[in-house]
């Protein structure tokens, strides 16, 4: 049943869908929007190349790997980057180690890695053991991933996805063995640890943009542009709302509170 208090949510949702469809249809016709370079993405090849030179593995962790919660979008962004990392590892014959602590994402990670090896014509080098489910327990996973990073002396440590308190522990373990580190998460509490401990960090939404930026896929780039358009609209609303509030008129705030539930 339609509820008036949710009407603004519906309007914004439909607006976003309309913008996305319009920009995706433009993308299908060959239009590629400009996307600013992201340093962490540019450094992926450097990280894998370093591992190839040193003859040591690359470690990748897509965070908790949650797919059925509010963090699913972060996991999916991490998987897009995993596809690129696996592609590079296959190309340069570098050993890849993917560790996880949510069993549900194991088959998805395996599929992503397998597809990348297939695209590089190195399917013989692919084994399901590249993706290692260590434990369903967060701290047991962390202890083991730290040990693995140290014992295998990974050359590059890539941590992209939704991370919890294991973030700094994994980054510190890799720092001790001199790994180059690329990390990214949209979890506000963990970002400071990554910024402090890693060489390159994808800050929040950069992680989502990175997945689209890598493939230069018109549809994904269109979705990034659609989100940008929405942000510009909301920035305008914020400025207009703040000016009106200063003048003593709180019409926008009241409207959002009344219809944005």
């Amino acid at each position: 049943m339609f509820k008036a208090e949710t009407s603004l949510t519906l309007v914004v949702f439909l607006g976003l869908v309309t913008i996305s469809i319009y920009l995706i249809s433009k993308g299908k016709k060959g239009y590629l929007p400009y996307v600013r370079p992201i340093a962490a993405v540019e450094s992926l090849e450097e990280a894998v190349g370093r591992a190839a030179e040193m003859g040591r593995p690359v470690h990748f962790a897509p965070g908790s790997g949650e797919l059925d919660s509010e963090y699913a979008s972060q996991t999916i962004a991490g998987l897009q980057i995993l596809a690129e990392v696996a592609r590079l590892c296959a190309r340069y014959d570098v050993e890849l180690i993917v560790t996880l602590w949510k069993s549900v994402s194991v088959p998805i990670c395996q599929e992503v890695v397998r597809q990348s090896y297939l695209e590089e014509g190195k399917i013989d080098a692919y084994t399901p053991e590249i993706v290692r489910f260590l434990s369903d327990d967060q701290m047991a996973y962390t202890a083991n991933a730290m040990g693995l990073i140290q014992q295998r002396e990974v050359a590059s440590n890539i941590l992209i996805g939704p991370f919890y308190m294991e973030s700094l522990m994994l980054a510190e373990a890799a720092h001790q063995v001199g790994s180059i580190q690329i990390a990214g998460t949209a979890r506000m509490y963990q970002l400071p640890f990554f910024v402090a401990a890693c060489d390159y960090t994808l800050l929040g939404e950069e992680m989502y943009a990175a997945g689209s930026y890598i493939g230069k896929d018109a549809i994904r780039l269109a979705s990034i542009q659609a989100i940008d358009w929405a942000k510009i609209v909301f920035l305008a609303v914020i400025i207009l709302g703040a000016v009106l509030e200063t003048a003593g008129v709180s019409i926008i705030g009241d409207f959002i509170k009344a219809y944005g539930n």
Binding site: F13, P107, D136, Q150, I238, E245, T246, G253
Partner: protein, 199 residues
């Protein structure tokens, strides 16, 4: 000194884990493998209990037939072990992803976007309010990816990134302070409860 065997076990294992700060030692590996074994065993027990309480019991004893759907999805997941039927496992994987995306769509707009916008609609009559409005504007501007950077707009992004770094610094310091309390608790456990040196 404690006479409780569990205090001894927890204290020794804690020290084994802390040995990682020195290097990846035999003690650390021992604790790591114990942790992994216990984690695997505990996880398996929880998974069986969850299947029994949430699926098998309601389906076979309470005759809630709608639960056949998740049962089929569980079975399909295992088709990954049969190469010819492997594609069927994707149905099981698509289900939680689709469900997650659907739930996120609404909650992101009404639970995150609107409250953030509403909280930023402040009268520009105090330093705090100006910092919040200008800060939100600059940080959001930094996250516009499809706009080409221009010389006159670059300072906006710069302010945005500086504000984020200040926030990260504060957040880092808060976490360190909170973890110091946990570390003091650990020291209390070792030197007080276990060894009885401090009270």
């Amino acid at each position: 000194m404690s006479t409780d065997i569990w205090v001894w076990i927890s204290s020794i294992l804690s020290l084994c884990i802390f040995s990682f700060l020195w290097k990846d030692s035999l003690a650390y590996r021992m604790a790591q493998n114990i942790f992994l074994g216990i984690g695997a065993g505990h996880g398996l027990a929880i998974a069986f209990r969850s299947l029994r309480n949430s699926l098998f019991y309601p389906l076979f004893y309470e005759k809630r037939l709608t639960l056949i759907i998740p049962l089929i999805l569980v079975v399909l997941l295992y088709t990954k072990l049969i190469p010819k039927l492997e594609y069927l496992s994707r149905i099981s994987l698509a289900f939680p992803i689709g469900l997650g995306a659907g739930i996120i769509l609404r909650s992101t707009i009404s639970g995150q976007l609107f409250p953030q916008v509403a909280a930023t609609l402040l009268p520009l009559n105090s330093i705090n309010n100006i910092i919040i409005v200008v800060g939100t504007f600059c940080v959001t501007y930094y996250f516009l990816f499809t706009i080409k950077p221009r010389r006159n707009t670059q300072p906006i992004s710069k302010i945005g990134i500086y504000l984020m770094m200040v926030t990260f610094g504060l957040s880092f310091a808060t976490s360190v302070a909170a973890n110091t309390a946990i570390y003091l608790g650990f020291l209390q456990n070792i030197f007080g409860t276990w060894l009885g040196i401090i009270k």
